[in-house]
């Protein structure tokens, strides 16, 4: 570890007001209910909707934080289960903050940090991910050399050796999951069509550390963050473009103070280019598509309009809205590393999102997050649904005349 990124760390007790003064109005359980017109869609807490005890909703988990800090309870299996069943989607905070000024999600993040610090978290199911990160610097335990294979034949500039003005940070999932590689390739082609020549660190790229932060292992996260920052500084980029919203989130919230470069999610970069009309999709696509707001891109980085603008530029594509959208978007179920420990419940959550897509008449669910793509795809399969899950860059590249190869 080179240095601590956060000089003064927050602890759970810093949020005493938040967990003590929750009035149990239960707005945190819900979507913005005045925007829904089907009763079922009031629910917007994946863990609470599935496990039902109040302790699985923010209202009950805040109470756990209070009891834990006062020593009323010891860490118990149910506490750990509830804590890591939370997808950290942030809906609770989105609903609570405007009316009560409380930060429930931050409390849960700090509860996780406390759990790891004191050695009773995370769950055993998460240990393989931690092992992989320790041994291979990526979530999947794949050899480092494999990290650059996704870009074979694209002729990306070797940013690690030659530097680059624009650095593309692909992230573990796009780099190492073969089924997502084509999406990453489409994104590069779209960025090139927009006139941006991007470089990549290839096998020198490390995990951004977002999974560690989500698990509560801040010490381990900072080891990754410090090394990433060192390598990124060496690239001397003016702009760092991230494909995965989880990477974008940690870089914007944690890395940014240490870097001179601007950090932007790829959707934002492309939307800006479209606004300037530097290029325009021509190929007509068909069908109704609903934009699924990834939690880190939406609630965390407040990027709601840019991806919608991209979809609106694609001729023939009719954009429809989920009932739970923007700040009230339902999580796909794969956030907060919950997918590692509770695959069935996360698939159940994703299936609910696909059901919602069917209700609003969408033939496609479009997103820009590899975690969402994976989980929503599983949800669609488990429902036997005809809804197709697509990445916005694949659609855009197709509309720009790309053949997808």
């Amino acid at each position: 570890m080179e240095k601590k990124l956060t000089a003064l760390r927050e602890t759970l007790s810093d949020y005493r007001d938040d967990y003590s003064l929750c009035g149990k109005c239960k707005l945190c359980h819900a979507s913005h209910v005045h925007e829904i017109d089907r009763g079922r869609f009031w629910r917007n807490c994946p863990a609470g909707s599935r496990f039902r005890f109040d302790g699985y909703y923010a209202s009950g988990r805040l109470e756990m934080a209070r009891a834990l800090e006062l020593g009323e309870i010891e860490p118990t299996p149910a506490l750990l289960h509830s804590l890591y069943a939370c997808t950290l989607c942030g809906n609770c905070q989105e609903q609570c903050y405007p009316v009560k000024q409380l930060y429930p999600m931050r409390v849960f993040e700090l509860m996780r940090e406390k759990a790891v610090r004191e050695g009773w978290g995370p769950l055993p199911e998460h240990l393989s991910a931690l092992d992989n990160l320790e041994k291979t610097d990526n979530l999947f335990g794949r050899p480092k050399a494999e990290r650059e294979r996704w870009s074979d034949g694209l002729g990306l500039r070797d940013a690690a050796r030659k530097g680059a003005e624009v650095l593309l940070f692909a992230g573990c999932r796009y780099s190492l999951q073969p089924e997502l590689a084509e999406t990453a390739r489409s994104a590069v082609r779209v960025l090139r069509a927009a006139g941006l020549e991007v470089g990549s660190m290839g096998s020198e790229e490390l995990c951004c550390g977002a999974p560690l932060l989500e698990l509560g292992d801040r010490d381990f996260f900072e080891a990754f963050a410090a090394e990433n920052i060192r390598r990124m500084k060496a690239v001397r980029a003016d702009l760092i473009v991230t494909l995965c919203p989880h990477c974008a989130w940690v870089m914007a919230e944690e890395y940014a103070p240490e870097l001179d470069a601007e950090i932007k999610p790829a959707t934002e970069v492309v939307a800006e280019v479209l606004r300037e009309e530097r290029f325009w999709p021509q190929q007509e696509l068909s069908g109704k598509a609903a934009w699924h707001d990834p939690c880190r891109l939406g609630r965390r980085l407040r990027l709601y309009d840019a991806p919608r603008e991209i979809l609106d530029c694609i001729p023939g594509l009719e954009r429809v809205e989920f009932q739970r959208s923007r700040g009230s978007s339902l999580c796909c179920g794969n956030g907060g590393m919950a997918g590692y420990a509770f695959p069935d419940y996360e698939e159940w959550t994703a299936a609910e999102r696909i059901y919602e897509a069917e209700c609003v008449g969408a033939a496609k669910v479009v997103t820009a997050c590899p975690w969402c793509e994976e989980m929503l795809g599983r949800g669609a399969r488990s429902r036997g649904s005809d809804v197709i899950v697509e990445n916005v860059f694949s659609l855009l590249w197709e509309s720009l005349g790309g053949d997808g190869s």
């Binding site: 149990k24 109040d54 020593g71 009323e72």
Partner: protein
């Protein structure tokens, strides 16, 4: 990348833990008969068998989620929590509780400002949120049959799809419909349609003995007929019983049409003279044209109509402090406008009002970046802005409209000094009241809410003193205190003696209710408030 070793817990905390310096407070007294450890263990086993192990928990971390609400009462943990999924399972919970002599605390959605679901003696917390189905929604005959886990958000959305609406709650839309309606359901439409409790057609209820009671038309196999059934009507007897007489597992209630168009009506006045308002209320209420009619002062406006605290503050600054607000609905714009004009003429005859042009108010709101259409949705469907962190104590009086002139003046003096602990959140500029006629003006309801910072003992004392001063002031002037607390006050030291002194009929009434409770719940397992042997509350609880 090497993973740093987890750091150890601070030695101080570890030491304290080992020596049990800190730990879970002993919230439950060891009773010689009830909630005995061996019986609790047996009840847990039986419950797991009855409803499935997944839906029963005795884990302290899960239990703590049920230990507090928005009241100032200290945390009390239930021993175990059960989530039944059907009426039969609720009956099974009671059967087990009786067999093992374990307390049962019914829990609808857990939104309470008075500790209504805090399990004072521990036992079984019966969380009804798995029973969350809308069983029937008849658009033509305008009724719905629901389970206790259904909340207003869900029911309102489904009813609106059929052009109908349920009487809105004066609380967040996540509140359970049955539990809210069973405790009256104050709503903005109560001048025209009554409180929610007046709109119950029939119920299905599990009595504490485990028997299932059907009351109302359904009891004899009739369709929900909007009349009490063959009689005698026992459907309303659970009202205000707060789980002491059993658990309502199904309820049929009336819905009302959502007007296609509506027109807002604001009559404001400068001077705090409630007599003017009362005269105007009588006039408007008897015409019965307004679907909603209420007097909401300053901060209440923000509460009811805003999306965020910032919006609430803007709204409060925009609308005159003293206001009568009515909403006139109609099948067309013209009809709504005609009703509004008629209402204005009525009000002009009664006092010194100034009339705000609703279009101008909307325009002004838009200029400030507010969304009037959305605000109307909030007003009509739920309260969103709860504005405070911390505890809340609701005060409410019911009396004839004209009696409130004196009551309000006296109460204002005490409440004015009490509100204002929510620094930096939503600053109330002054005390405000929520006042509205009920049943075409036959009665009226007045609400005054007090807030406190739970972590400040001085604030608690200040609030409680203020609350009792306000309430006793109201009662001394003849008003009925928040109808429906009888079942919860029985056995409360001093108060159960003081109340009959203030209301002489109260002792006979309480004796009847007590006899009913003892008959229906011979083992006193359902929301035990007082001991049958001694007649007193073994553990202090305000409500």
């Amino acid at each position: 990348m090497k993973r740093p070793a987890p750091r150890r817990e601070s030695p101080l905390l570890q030491n304290a833990r080992e020596r049990k310096i800190i730990g879970r407070p002993e919230a439950h007294e060891l009773d010689s008969v009830r909630n005995r450890p061996e019986n609790l263990e047996r009840a847990l086993r039986m419950l797991r068998q009855a409803v499935g192990a997944e839906w029963v928990s005795d884990d302290p971390a899960i239990a703590c989620g049920y230990a507090r609400d928005q009241s100032f009462l200290p945390a009390v943990y239930p021993h175990m929590i059960v989530l039944p999924a059907s009426t039969q399972e609720v009956a099974e919970v009671y059967r087990i509780a009786n067999e093992c002599l374990v307390d049962v605390m019914p829990y609808g959605t857990g939104i309470s400002t008075v500790g209504a679901t805090i399990p004072m003696f521990g036992g079984i917390e019966c969380d009804l949120r798995r029973m969350d189905r809308i069983l029937e929604l008849d658009g033509r005959n305008m009724y719905t049959r629901i389970q206790p886990g259904v909340n207003f958000a869900e029911l309102q959305a489904e009813a609106q799809a059929l052009g109908l609406r349920v009487t809105n709650p004066s609380t967040s839309a996540t509140a359970g419909v049955i539990s809210n309606i069973a405790s009256c359901n104050i709503n903005s439409m109560c001048c025209k349609y009554g409180f929610g409790m007046d709109n119950i057609i029939d119920i299905e209820m599990v009595l504490p003995s485990g028997e299932i009671l059907e009351a109302g038309p359904r009891a004899c196999g009739m369709d929900p007929a909007h009349v009490p059934g063959p009689g005698p009507d026992v459907a309303p007897f659970f009202r205000y019983s707060c789980g002491t007489l059993g658990i309502v597992t199904e309820m049929t209630l009336r819905l009302y049409p959502e007007p296609a168009c509506d027109r807002k009506f604001y009559a404001s006045y400068n001077e705090d003279r409630l007599d003017d308002i009362v005269d105007a209320f009588y006039a408007i209420a008897r015409d019965n044209l307004a679907s909603e009619l209420l007097h909401i002062q300053n901060t209440f406006f923000g509460n009811f109509m805003a999306e965020t605290n910032q919006e609430a503050e803007q709204l409060v600054g925009m609308i005159p402090r003293n206001n009568i607000m009515a909403i006139l609905g109609g099948a067309s714009e013209e009809e709504a406008r005609l009703k509004a004009d008629l209402t204005r003429r009525r009000v002009e005859e009664t006092g010194r009002f100034e009339f705000l042009d609703p279009d101008a108010v909307d325009e002004m709101a838009r200029a400030k970046g507010l969304k009037p259409e959305r605000q109307m949705k909030y007003l009509r469907e739920s309260v969103r802005v709860q504005r405070v962190k911390g505890s809340f104590l609701i005060g409410a009086l019911v009396d004839h409209l004209d009696n409130f002139e004196g009551i309000e003046k006296a109460m204002r003096r005490v409440t004015t000094q009490q509100i204002g602990t929510n620094q930096g959140v939503f600053r109330p500029d002054d005390a405000g009241i929520y006042f509205q006629p009920y049943h075409m003006g036959r009665m009226a309801y007045l609400e005054y809410d007090l807030y406190m910072d739970q972590s400040d003992p001085e604030d608690l004392v200040r609030m409680l003193l203020g609350y009792f001063r306000a309430t006793l002031t109201g009662m001394a002037n003849g008003a009925l205190f928040a109808a429906g607390v009888g079942s919860l006050l029985k056995g409360l030291p001093m108060l159960d003696m003081a109340l009959p002194m203030m209301m002489p009929g109260m002792s006979v009434y309480m004796d009847t209710v007590s006899a009913l409770k003892m008959e229906l719940d011979p083992n006193n397992v359902s929301n035990r408030r007082w001991d049958y042997e001694t007649g007193v509350m073994p553990k202090f609880s305000l409500f």
